[in-house]
Symmetry: C4
Subunit: 221 residues, 4 copies
Amino acid sequence: MTERSAAAGPRDRRSLSESTRVEAFSDGVIAIAITLLVLELRVPALDPKDPGRLASDLLHDWPHYSAYVISFLVIGVMWVNHHSVFRDIVRVDRMLMFLNLILLLSIAVIPFPTAVVAQYITGAPADARAAAVLYSVVSFLVGVSFSGVRLWTLAHPYLLSPTVNLAAARAVRRQLGFYVGGIAYALLIVVALISPIACMLGHVVMALYYVGERLPKHTTD
Amino acid sequence: MTERSAAAGPRDRRSLSESTRVEAFSDGVIAIAITLLVLELRVPALDPKDPGRLASDLLHDWPHYSAYVISFLVIGVMWVNHHSVFRDIVRVDRMLMFLNLILLLSIAVIPFPTAVVAQYITGAPADARAAAVLYSVVSFLVGVSFSGVRLWTLAHPYLLSPTVNLAAARAVRRQLGFYVGGIAYALLIVVALISPIACMLGHVVMALYYVGERLPKHTTD
Amino acid sequence: MTERSAAAGPRDRRSLSESTRVEAFSDGVIAIAITLLVLELRVPALDPKDPGRLASDLLHDWPHYSAYVISFLVIGVMWVNHHSVFRDIVRVDRMLMFLNLILLLSIAVIPFPTAVVAQYITGAPADARAAAVLYSVVSFLVGVSFSGVRLWTLAHPYLLSPTVNLAAARAVRRQLGFYVGGIAYALLIVVALISPIACMLGHVVMALYYVGERLPKHTTD
Amino acid sequence: MTERSAAAGPRDRRSLSESTRVEAFSDGVIAIAITLLVLELRVPALDPKDPGRLASDLLHDWPHYSAYVISFLVIGVMWVNHHSVFRDIVRVDRMLMFLNLILLLSIAVIPFPTAVVAQYITGAPADARAAAVLYSVVSFLVGVSFSGVRLWTLAHPYLLSPTVNLAAARAVRRQLGFYVGGIAYALLIVVALISPIACMLGHVVMALYYVGERLPKHTTD
């Protein structure tokens, strides 16, 4: 507790509200990124010489709708997990703000690989592979950034709520669960090279896996 | 009440704020989706060889403005109703977060069918029908997702405010009003196949219907 | 005061927070609309056969930057005034939500006439006139919607804060200041037909006029 | 203290919440601007006659990804600093709202020079120079607007928190640190004319410089 008390003090009240504001800003960025996904759904071009094709054109665009649904789930689950990570954080320092900014940078870019996958997943095999690799690399960056945020706060416990059991929280660094995200997304980069479709299904599986609570609770409330 | 007390306990305070944060995130997504509608309004292309046509070009685009107004009302009313549903919810579990994510996914996609309807409603009959069907299918998904959220909370009453009269709230599942949305939007899919214009007018009527309060109050405040 | 007390009662606490949530939603929509303005600024097309023209291409696009600045001020000032109007509102009913939705619909559409003006204000006279008329019609709709919100709350005083001096607040309906916005924007529609540039300068003047506080205070705090 | 007390009084509570609302609105605009950056990342066009080129096309677009990362950091750091500036502000007047609006206008436009730099930085030297000048001019405007907000509040101390040590806060106006941003961004405009790439690296250095806390604390909490 001494480690924490030393750092705490007159700035407490301000820093507390700073943590709330960082969380609100992150929520805003994630909410915008998830909603911008719809802009990648293009209205089929109207060919005045060949009308009546809208229904088949819409059905033909199924990779775009699939990509929309997958990325909506992926970003939605990231939002839930961002929330879980910040639940235990009550103060922020400049480095944590910077690490969180890198995390937001990786989440906010997801509409781009989503659009690339939607466009190329049914195309030439080399293009489908490149698209799935891009998508997996971005997911891997998100996973690494999440770990960065968590490791920084574990190493600087005065950023954490006093209700967090520090020894238990730090123990996760020696547990497999902490590394599941990073390992899985690294594997999906390899899977992308073999089967782009299997890779994208892997992202769905990962999103559904993270719908469940994967962050151990170490608070004593 | 026992059902509720059993589940309540040490996590109450946290879960309460979690419900607020889910609501704020949902508000953000809906506010962004409703504002993105404007991006579907295209500036008429300038033809340097035939200037002076802007006024008639703008008037010619009336289906786009109508679609903007209709979808703005539709999403606006969905926001009000999302608010009404969450008014009684004071805790969230992972499944509720997931169901709410599906609901947001369906609301956030509305700018896409809006743009499709704006482009095709005055085109070939087959295209106009396909566009109106697409719009109605999305609305139906929104209605079903709303029901999913409500049914889940009724089945897990510890998520609800203690001021909710559970017996009365659960009775809605045996009342027609609860199913009006689903039935109406399913009917509008059929109407779309007969008259796309009538279908879109039906969506206006539904939005105006939901401007009134349709969620029965069962709280004892 | 009886008029107000009659309506007040058990729903007070809930309605109060509902007013805050309507305000937060409106803030969100206005913040998004003002930020979407940047999407109308297009990167000059690169002509590989004639490089080195970016500087002159950028300077040539001055109407786009002017339109961006004008609309940013216009929407920014609308945000301030929306805030002023809702400062006195502590409860919302369904009709007020609907009127506020119409107001948001008119504000959120502003990026569209902004893009039209930017594209056509330096074009053929007939096109410049049509663009300025469109811009002024949208501004007029915003003004009328603002009046609708204010008139509704004056007619339903239980929506207003108890600190509002109702007699003084209602007196504005007999004062010229209340109608300045509507009259000025109606006049600008006419000006648009004579001189589109003068019309747009008029919008700047109106925005600067509203930077000052134009809503009389009738509260007794 | 008299200067402050004179201005304070019955409006305090309202003005306090007004400051919070201005901050929330600014947060919203900045969160949207930073997330809109992703829209400048374009999916490589599919050439049906020459498939299999996605990987090389993506690698070829490295200036776009670099520009995305740079501007994400730049806007992110601006958000942190906006927060630092408003930490000491507890009241807002109309002029402060107006100055903050100019600041938001300059921040919200950043996706535009970002897209211009991404498109032209590897093009003809004259175009690369023009792009980097544009980017630096916008950054300079942001810096000047920040100074405007700070100078206004220092000249009107009743806008500041009572915990601010006014003499110490005002002393910054005679210190170099206060002018570092303005001078550096003015210099980067000149650097842009010599080496556009060096200029963009300069923006990265400035962003990293501002990751550290550069606003002296003068509060007595």
